[in-house]
């Protein structure tokens, strides 16, 4: 260890793994929540990747989480596809959230056909974002969605029950909505370590 190596040069070579690696590539789609954006290594919803939103129950703000992004996409004229939503998207509320309903598409189906439809939409590359509600989807199905999102360069979102948090997932981002404490917890984010501190979610109700 005779030679003196400058610390910067060592870091630039990227041969040293840093615990808190701050990605310089902040290419994500803004979530509409500055605190969440700052916490995610991509600086927003990861592009061309699957994001998983784990919810403990319905009616805990899971749609409001995506509305700012969906509003921006539809106003830019990009299609947003809801594959097999669990309930009727109530048009006045979606409209009030700023979403241009002309670019909102609903695909009514169920079961494995829903996964197929979501995959087709993602792979086609003509949609801005695809939201799906997979029922009992296994790891393989999620991986297919992730690969489809990558190959179609489309934002993909999967809503799953919070019990799935213990299972590993190929999604680039996993968010848990904790309804009792009104917090958002990042379980996994590609390109960085998941932050330990949750984001208060109730603040932007």
């Amino acid at each position: 260890m005779g030679a003196i190596v400058a610390l910067d040069a060592l870091l630039d070579q990227r041969r040293i793994w840093k615990g808190r690696h701050i990605s310089t590539l902040r290419s994500g789609h803004p979530t509409g929540n500055a605190q969440l954006d700052a916490m995610l290594p991509s600086g927003g919803w990861p592009l061309a990747a699957l994001s998983e939103i784990l919810i403990q129950a319905e009616g805990t703000g899971e749609l409001r989480l995506l509305w700012p992004m969906l509003a921006r996409l539809t106003q830019a004229g990009e299609k947003v596809v809801l594959v097999a939503p669990p309930h009727v998207p109530f048009a006045p509320a979606w409209h009030a959230a700023g979403i241009d309903l002309r670019h909102l598409i609903i695909v009514n189906t169920q079961g494995t056909e829903a996964l197929w439809a979501a995959e087709q939409c993602l792979r086609s590359g003509c949609c801005g974002a695809v939201l799906c509600w997979p029922q009992r989807a296994n790891d393989r199905a999620m991986r297919r969605l992730q690969v489809a999102a990558e190959s179609g360069q489309t934002l993909a979102f999967a809503y799953r029950p919070a019990e799935e948090a213990v299972n590993p997932s190929p999604a680039a981002l996993r968010l848990l909505v904790e309804s009792a404490t009104n917090q958002l917890r990042v379980l996994k984010c590609r390109g960085g370590i998941a932050p330990v501190t949750p984001v208060p979610f109730a603040a932007w109700h």
Binding site: G59, P89, A91, N108, R123
Partner: protein, 471 residues
């Protein structure tokens, strides 16, 4: 116009042989009643054993037992004829199955696409050999002449000037005349078509039926032959009967490869592709085993289709031996080769939305893909409707909180211990159209932190009814 006539001298035999792995083994096709089975036709290996067509099966068995037999099925032959027409449709839009066991294809208009005739012919022969059909091909300026010439020529191409000279050398019994007329001519010492041409027309008209002169004129092109053009069917359905009961996947692969190759030939003819097809495996006294195959994108490459099907087939457990294989493809979308740009930013096969929508509708049903519209109505059930994206009514912004999810059917509240955050908000409307609604809506928070939208009918004292979630 240049008409190519492709004659299949042993169509029935080829149709059976191509389903068998060993094409050189002796094979005999049988016809006739159950009491008297007659050898209809046979391949060359069987002929070398001393078998002849017209022999009875018992006589043949007296000579040897070393040959396989199959039924001479005229419906089957007709199906193969149609299949070949579908294949030829790829090369020309004028294909006719006017003559049995032969195809008439108008080729001149396809020269610019497939090259001059020698190259075009080589292509046709190569594909027919790959499909497993023996053939003879002749090109002539009119369809009837092509059909007559193919009786005694192969690989002949005749232009307008040569036609009469070549036809003149044709034996009378090969011209396609009625048998009685042909016999009469030969008994009169007239053996070549050229001799008929030297005869005075009025004497032919007097001695023979009028069809003879009409046929002569048709051959020379003086009279046109009205041909029905072949129109391909809208779906693919092909079946191969196996000659023994098959229990293993391995033995199914050969007929499967044939079926897939046929499908690919058919798809190329229609310039379409396939995304979903079904393989039926027929059993004795039991329903078919179905193997549905769905692809992510539209394909027509035979090797790829075969590998995919093979992968699915190998996972399948066969409940019983298989007697026959059948492949049905009903949905044949237009094949779009993968779009590539030299410098492309998004490397996906960027599919237009219309095409994606059609693909979804094709599989999920016509009403599966809808848009969403807002209606100017205060009743929650009527404040939205599904619809296409064409006419978006200028939506009025409703004052007050509205949930993101609306339940399809309002349900009675199952949980207790909630807290009313806002309300009541009275919605009272619709007395004029029969859908009278008088409700007080509340914004509720459950113990687990869910935000719900519930109502109680005005004047009612019962439990709240859940109608939506503020998701």
């Amino acid at each position: 116009m240049r008409w190519a006539c492709i004659l299949f001298p042993q169509l029935a035999l080829d149709a059976v042989l191509r389903a068998r792995a060993d094409a050189d083994a002796p094979l005999v096709l049988l016809s006739g009643s159950a009491q008297r089975r007659v050898l209809q036709t046979m391949n060359s290996a069987a002929r070398e054993l001393g078998l002849r067509s017209g022999q009875s099966l018992t006589a043949a068995h007296a000579i040897t037992h070393a040959f396989a037999t199959a039924e001479y099925d005229s419906a089957d032959i007709e199906r193969w004829h149609q299949f070949l027409a579908a294949w030829a449709y790829r090369f020309s839009s004028h294909v006719s199955v006017h003559y049995p066991r032969a195809l008439l294809v108008e080729v001149q208009s396809s020269y610019s696409l497939f090259g001059p005739w020698p190259r075009f012919e080589a292509l046709l022969r190569q594909e027919l050999t790959a499909l497993g059909f023996q053939h003879r091909i002749v090109v002539a300026p009119n369809a009837a002449a092509a059909r007559a010439l193919v009786n005694s020529h192969d690989g002949l191409a005749v232009n307008d000037e040569q036609l009469q000279k070549v036809l003149a050398q044709m034996p009378v019994d090969r011209l396609g005349l009625e048998r009685s007329a042909a016999t009469a001519f030969s008994r009169m010492g007239i053996r070549l078509f050229g001799h008929i041409l030297t005869l005075p027309r009025d004497s032919i008209a007097r001695r023979f039926s009028k069809e003879v002169l009409m046929h002569v004129d048709t051959l020379l092109g003086a009279r046109h032959l009205a041909l029905d053009c072949y129109a391909p069917p809208d779906f693919f359905d092909s079946r191969i009967e196996l000659n023994f009961e098959v229990e293993s996947h391995q033995a199914l692969l050969f007929p499967l490869r044939r079926l897939i190759a046929d499908l690919a030939a058919y798809l190329a003819g229609r310039d379409s592709g396939v995304q979903r097809f079904t393989l039926h495996m027929e059993h004795r006294g039991r329903n078919d085993t179905l193997l549905p195959i769905g692809l992510l994108s539209i394909e027509r490459e035979p090797s790829m289709l075969f590998e995919l099907t093979r992968g699915r087939l190998e996972q399948l457990q066969l409940p019983e031996p298989v007697l026959a294989l059948r492949l049905i493809a009903r949905d044949l979308p237009v094949f779009v080769p993968e779009y590539r740009e030299l410098f492309t930013e998004r490397p996906q096969q960027s599919l237009p939305w219309e095409q994606l929508r059609e693909r979804l509708r094709a599989r999920l049903g016509d009403n599966a893909v809808t848009g969403l519209q807002q209606q100017a109505d205060h009743r929650p059930e009527r404040a939205w409707q599904t619809g296409n994206q064409a006419g978006q009514a200028a939506a009025t912004r409703i004052q007050g909180l509205r949930p993101g999810w609306l339940l399809n059917e309002p349900v009675a509240m199952q949980f207790s211990g909630f807290q009313i955050l806002a309300g009541p908000e009275r919605i009272e409307s619709g007395w004029w159209d029969g859908g009278d609604v008088r409700r007080d809506y509340y914004l509720l928070e459950t113990q687990s932190g869910q935000l719900a939208w519930g109502y109680r009918r005005v004047g009612d004292t019962g439990p709240l009814v859940l109608h939506g979630w503020f998701a």
